[in-house]
Symmetry: C2
């Protein structure tokens, strides 16, 4: 592969418009900044927020809930700021995802519990639990979520800002920016192979959002 | 190896006294129960509670604090129910232990943070944090401890009953009955390579212990 230094030089001095210009983005970038921006661009279409890469749907934020209701009908939704996310049969072998929706403050949140095999087979699994907002990154900053596992005299909890579905949960899991625990810990909190995770969503102090109708 | 079935038969029908009989244990057991009991026997001598197996000291519970003060002089002690356990240089390579003493309710607790290499070298490390009581198993049941990592808008916490030093922390770590987190999570909460863990010790509701002088 011969490098075309002439073309590279031009590419590094000319600004190109963002590839989501037709969707409304007015920014332009030198070649080397463009890819990074486009990954973050607020006009980039939203992917389906379901974990795993099986669903290839993409579209506008305003169409995400419709997509979920039509294509992912089996996902349960619970109303309220404080609910229990019950993951059944956590001892199922292999990589498994559990998904639930939580509706509060006029927003919809997707709760994800993901079980991954450890690097060496037979060494058990790691569980990752995380919450994402069906909303933009800016909106996600207005909330906090809390995940709690508890039994008599034992408790594990994690609090953080939810991810926007625009960022997705895969990065959060890869960076361990989520509640992570292994199989023996899961067993400490499970009952009959089912794991109940208390999920509490709250608004960050000082933020006021008009209560939207989430129906 | 030829099995001596005659001897095995006798061993399974005769009761033997606990090997700590001279220390005060009056119980006796069939051969197959004896080992299990002796592992739990309250008259078994106490080992040095420092993590790792480098110190071979054994003795009575009443001599443990003297041993620590004489032989493990470098261990810091903080007074109070609510303290910060500051682990410095958590990025040091390899397996490392951090140890601190916390003194409250007239008792001494040993705080342990242990860093272990994951199964596959290069895949990072796992941290385990746990609290043990310099006291008997029965006494440990009177307390709860809480470990908390926190920064602006992120928090990880773990609550459980402390281990007695008679049980030791190795089993707790092996069973993941402790606060366990990996290197990326440690980085989320560390500042300049130092990790501060908030430690709060409380008494279980309904328990009253006369305040002993811990000096
Ligand atoms: Zn753009
Ligand atoms: Zn989909
Ligand atoms: Zn005994
Ligand atoms: Zn020692």
């Amino acid at each position: 592969s011969v490098r075309n230094l002439g073309l590279e030089k031009i590419a590094n001095t000319v600004r190109f418009p963002c590839k989501f210009a037709s969707a409304g983005c007015t920014l332009s970038f030198y070649h080397y900044d463009k890819v990074e921006h486009e990954d973050q661009c607020e006009f980039r279409p939203y992917s389906c927020p379901c974990p795993g890469a099986s669903c290839k749907w993409m579209g506008a934020l305003s169409d995400v809930m419709d997509h979920l209701k039509k294509v992912h009908k089996s996902i349960t939704t619970l109303q309220g700021e404080d609910i229990v996310f019950l993951a059944t049969d956590i001892n199922l072998p292999g990589a498994v995802d559990w998904v639930m929706m939580q509706s509060c403050f006029g927003y919809n949140f997707m709760l994800v519990l993901e079980k991954q095999e450890k690097y060496e087979p037979g060494n058990g699994q790691v569980f990752y639990a995380v919450v994402q907002l069906i909303g933009a990154k800016k909106e996600a900053e207005n909330f906090m979520y809390r995940l709690e596992l508890s039994t008599h005299r034992r408790r594990l909890c994690w609090e953080a800002a939810p991810r926007s579905i625009h960022e997705g949960v895969a990065a959060a899991i890869q960076q361990s920016d989520c509640l992570a625990f292994d199989t023996p810990t899961a067993q400490l909190f499970a009952e009959n192979g089912n794991l109940g995770i208390n999920v509490t969503i709250s608004m960050v102090d000082g933020v006021r959002i008009m209560d939207r109708d989430s129906s």
